[in-house]
Symmetry: C2
Subunit: 197 residues, 2 copies
């Protein structure tokens, strides 16, 4: 994979773009935003983070003609059989938001003692749309679901997630602290290791 010089990130999230560009700098890979191309949203028809990440990467590569990297991530709660999982962003409905999703999660776990969960990030990198060997890296960040929201940083379920080994919610971590240990950081580190420097 060392021949890759440029790739498109199949995301409109500026934060992800900056984080990824920084981590791939030693690999001398230029990360281009999806907005540089007319890339519509891919149909996320997969049943897992990995399948959706591959679908999104193939879609971006098909439209841009360049190698493409996509991520798919979310929260999987053990007592809920892995829910909200790939539906994390729309757990409370298509027009829901972080607050509604968090409220629904608290309700689903009301009275449940076993509150272990994990944030999952799947990354898929394809050299071209039909690449037979996508590079796939996953990062898992384990923790417990709190009974009340804490902290204002981060996004999504961060106020309800207490990482294992910590005494605070992930929404109480600074961006730098979170980016050093999160599921996305772990997946990116694995990707950088696979790409070589």
């Amino acid at each position: 994979m060392s021949q890759i010089k440029q790739l498109v990130l199949a995301s409109n999230n500026a934060g992800k773009l900056a984080e990824l560009s920084d981590m791939l700098a030693p690999s001398h890979i230029e990360v281009l935003p999806q907005s540089a191309f007319d890339i519509s949203d891919a149909d996320e028809t997969g049943l897992s983070f990995v399948e959706n990440a591959i679908l999104k990467a193939r879609h971006a590569a098909r439209i841009s003609g360049l190698p493409a990297l996509a991520d798919d991530s979310g929260l999987a709660v053990d007592a809920l059989g892995g829910a909200p999982g790939i539906y994390s962003a729309r757990y409370a409905g298509e027009h829901g938001n972080d607050a509604a999703n968090n409220a629904k999660l608290l309700q689903a776990l009301d009275g449940i003692e076993h509150r272990s969960a994990q944030f999952v990030c799947a990354l898929a990198l394809v050299r071209h749309a039909d690449d037979p060997l996508p590079i796939i890296c996953e990062g898992l960040w384990r923790g417990q679901i709190l009974t009340t929201a804490r902290g204002d940083n981060g996004f999504g379920y961060d106020p309800l997630f207490q990482p294992d080994g910590m005494t605070c919610a992930s929404a109480e971590l600074s961006k730098a602290q979170k980016n050093a240990v999160s599921h996305r950081a772990l997946a990116l580190k694995a990707l950088v290791a696979r790409l070589g420097t």
Copy 2:
């Protein structure tokens, strides 16, 4: 995943079943053959080993009602853009065989000096058909494609594959030697590590 006590192996290959049962013995997981159920072949519509392994595992889990493990594996030759890849078994056509596949590969690489390649094995384990968190493990075994076939052991492209660090073809390795270092062994070791013992 430690709660898994039984799983179906989505394969009719007795060798794979034996190897997997041995490796999963410390995890106290009983491996059942696909033949114990009326499991038809899954449609392998994916574009990569990983996607096909997930498809096969979901299919076996759907029919058996049990957790299921599937593998998809093959040879990816760098100078051929990853071919024969997911088409390794039918490279020379639906009715081809190992000899025809090997002959076609030699012809495709005729006169080509850069002969690096890798055997790839993707394993996918799902707890149920719609499992949102399949466990995916890959094993890569790198080497070079020889200019003439060597050895009678193994199967598939083993007579043409010289593993990096070795001076023989993989078809000249004993079964035990191959099973200690092959792409499938590496993927299985990663799986066992993920499952815990």
